[in-house]
């Protein structure tokens, strides 16, 4: 019978030195007033200055080759640095996507010239990437994309519209998924004929329009490509292999600690807000949240270890993301009931971050309904 399992795993002791190093770096930064901890910073708090500092201190591109500015450490080292950054609510949106998935994807599928032009800059925290997957008619159903690339002399002309492109107005490139063969020529297989390109977001023919969130905050964009030119060497991987590459990218996108730590700064503040004279009801609500968080973290470490061993725990990652994103939302719901508004401006800010960002938690990177479908397929019922 099919069964999901998370082999019991823990982080190696070799990660401890790095943890202490990033912890002390962050303590210094907070002391220096570089940033104030916020919730949901990995998508919304874009700070090139801070990302450059992380790069200069060797905290980015941890598992990448030294040749491209990396540090040839493990993915578990990156896990440790990521969770420390998230727990302290640091402004990490500028480099988040490039460090998590664009860099690894380019290192895996890209050619030398593409790598040389983009990867060292990513490792230095100077070049930032967005994700070019969703379209107006392709959300959960990603295979329904309509954007195209047409071969021309020396490159490709891209046409179509991408949406929900976080930070496209501030970032340098996006990895964009388009059709290089018309849908009609796929013989009924919609996954055939897609390709990925690394596209400069400042190229003529690329128009970036803001889509404001319900808070008025701007990180989403609509990216309209009208004969936007991409040179040949910026075709990522193989022409026609885009779908498989995207699926591989999603394993990185869905497996990380940002899928349960987006509201951790609020959870941490909640401990002090309810204080040592907490009622048992309040303590139990807090205890339940932390108990679930630690269980999910253990599962996430298991996924990270599997990824590090070259396995593809796509289903296991999907399930942790489903549970973790629900927990992120619940932290806000519990906090707002235990500590009424007015406790302190800083606490209210964290609650407000959590409540108003919460709709995105269970949508981004694949909705929870899509994720449960992936789990059901693995269990053999779908």
């Amino acid at each position: 019978m099919a069964r999901l399992s998370y082999p019991s795993a823990s982080l190696p002791a070799s990660t401890e030195e790095l943890r202490l190093r990033i912890r002390s770096f962050l303590a210094d930064e907070i002391a220096a007033g570089t940033f104030t901890p916020r919730c949901d910073t990995w998508l919304g708090q874009h700070s090139p200055e801070f990302s450059k500092k992380l790069g200069a201190n060797g905290f980015l591109g941890l598992s990448w080759p030294k040749k491209y500015g990396g540090h040839e450490r493990t993915a578990l080292d990156r896990f440790v640095v990521s969770e420390e950054l998230l727990a302290l609510g640091a402004p990490i949106a500028a480099h988040w996507v490039s460090d998590r998935q664009s860099g690894p994807s380019i290192l895996k599928h890209g050619n030398d010239r593409m790598k040389e032009e983009t990867v060292p800059g990513m490792a230095a925290g100077e070049i930032y990437f967005s994700i070019g997957m969703s379209e107006p008619d392709a959300g959960s159903d990603l295979a329904n994309i309509r954007s195209t690339a047409t071969k021309v002399d020396g490159g490709w002309l891209l046409n179509g519209t991408k949406v929900w492109t976080s930070q496209a107005h501030k970032n340098h490139y996006f990895i964009v998924l388009v059709r290089t063969t018309p849908l009609s020529e796929g013989g009924g297989n919609r996954h055939i004929g897609m390709s990925q390109f690394v596209m400069d977001l400042r190229v003529p023919g690329c128009e970036i329009r803001p889509i404001r969130l319900l808070t008025g905050h701007h990180h989403f964009n609509e990216v309209v490509m009208t004969d936007a030119f991409v040179p040949d060497y910026m075709l990522l991987g193989e022409e026609g292999n885009g779908w498989n590459q995207v699926i591989g990218e999603l394993a990185f996108e869905r497996s990380g600690p940002e899928r349960y730590l987006s509201t951790y700064p609020l959870l941490s503040a909640l401990v002090d807000a309810i204080g040592p004279n907490a009622s048992n009801e309040a303590a139990a609500a807090l205890g339940t949240l932390v108990a679930r968080l630690t269980a999910l973290r253990k599962m996430c470490i298991s996924v990270a270890v599997m990824l590090d061993q070259g396995k593809a725990p796509i289903t296991e990652a999907a399930l942790v993301k489903d549970m973790g994103t629900q927990l992120e939302r619940e932290i806000g719901e519990v906090a707002r009931q235990l500590v009424p508004p007015g406790k302190s401006p800083a606490f209210d800010q964290l609650v407000s971050d959590s409540i108003l960002s919460a709709p995105g938690f269970t949508l981004r990177g694949g909705t929870n309904e899509i994720l449960r479908g992936i789990v059901a397929r693995e269990l053999g019922v779908r």
Partner: protein
């Protein structure tokens, strides 16, 4: 219902834990799988299955975790945990988990380990007390005489008496229940997955309905989280962290497990429909035990409150160091 017996009693993840002997996992699952047919389990309720106990004793499985020098079978805490999870998975109608805890604790305290089933006094109500030859109360074996006796939802006997109880023993038994629940929850998921694949309505297996698929995914997640929480506590106990931190992790595990029982039992029964809560169906053997175990040795809210109070006492700045020390680095 016969086909349920054929589902392979796999290792519940513990075979992946390098320090558990895979042969041990295979042996205990084979032995319990062969023996624990529904009618056998039902017949033993109210007491214990003496024949099964004898088989386990013959195989040396009742003294795992007790050093060979003390007359035991040897083995680690993780070996004991693998047996307890298997007992939970198979709804074994014997005090195997409680007895293993009693034997290990007694050996640690330099006591002789008597033959036969053992129990631990970890509160006024001693689970399995009436069928145990000896009850461990602190650092002594006491005779099992009880002012009152009864059974839990699953027909597992208990006795009430006045015994000295330590926090350590209360924690050990709570962890034991979390491990039993990890096993039982996985069984509930397996049984439900099988039923959803076999039961047809509207011309197709009910598992083809999206809502059922989503229920199954939720159930699988809660079962895995329970095992992760119990394993975390186990690893911290094995690593010899402070007793305070051991109890925090055990409390967290019991809280996660108890909450998961509420979710998984509800969905398992909902998916099984009416047949699942009849006495002829295997599912109820598991769900009744899970409902009993989540109440024994501290409910999820008691342990969550204990854990939460320890967190607020330590303050917000201590939370992240705690989170990142679970599980301990290897």
């Amino acid at each position: 219902m016969k086909s349920c017996e054929e589902s392979s009693p796999e290792s519940l993840g513990s075979a992946d834990m390098s320090n558990v002997d895979p042969l041990l996992v295979e042996t205990i699952n084979a032995l319990l799988g062969d023996h624990c047919a529904p009618e056998v389990v039902v017949a033993a309720e109210g007491g214990m299955d003496v024949a099964l106990w004898a088989k386990l004793e013959d195989a040396g499985l009742t003294l795992v975790g007790v050093p060979e020098s003390a007359g035991g079978s040897g083995g680690t805490l993780f070996d004991v945990a693998a047996i307890v999870k298997a007992a939970g998975y198979h709804a074994a109608p014997v005090p195997l988990g409680d007895s293993l805890v009693a034997a290990s604790l007694a050996a640690l305290r330099g006591l002789d380990v008597p033959a036969g089933p053992l129990a631990v006094a970890a509160g006024p109500r001693v689970t399995w007390g009436p069928v145990a030859g000896h009850v461990l109360s602190g650092s002594a074996w006491v005779s099992s005489t009880f002012a009152d006796t009864g059974t839990n939802y699953a027909g597992e006997p208990w006795g009430v008496g006045s015994f000295a109880v330590s926090e350590t023993d209360r924690g050990a038994m709570a962890l034991n229940r979390a491990l039993l629940m990890a096993g039982g929850l996985q069984r509930a998921v397996d049984l439900t997955l099988q039923y959803a694949s076999e039961r047809s309505q509207f011309g197709k297996p009910i598992g083809k309905q999206q809502v059922i698929q989503h229920y199954l995914a939720e159930m699988a997640g809660e079962a895995c989280a329970t095992e992760a929480a119990a394993d975390t506590a186990l690893e911290l106990v094995a690593a010899g962290v402070s007793e305070t931190q051991q109890l925090q992790a055990i409390g967290a595990a019991k809280a996660v497990a108890g909450r998961a029982v509420g979710i998984i039992n509800r969905l398992a029964h909902q998916i099984h429909g009416a047949i699942g809560f009849t006495d002829e169906h295997r599912l109820q053997l598991t769900t009744r035990r899970l409902w009993a175990w989540r109440d024994e040795h501290g409910t999820e809210s008691e342990w969550a409150a204990f854990f939460g109070q320890s967190l607020v006492a330590a303050g917000g700045s201590a939370l992240w160091p705690l989170v990142t020390s679970w599980p301990p680095v290897s």
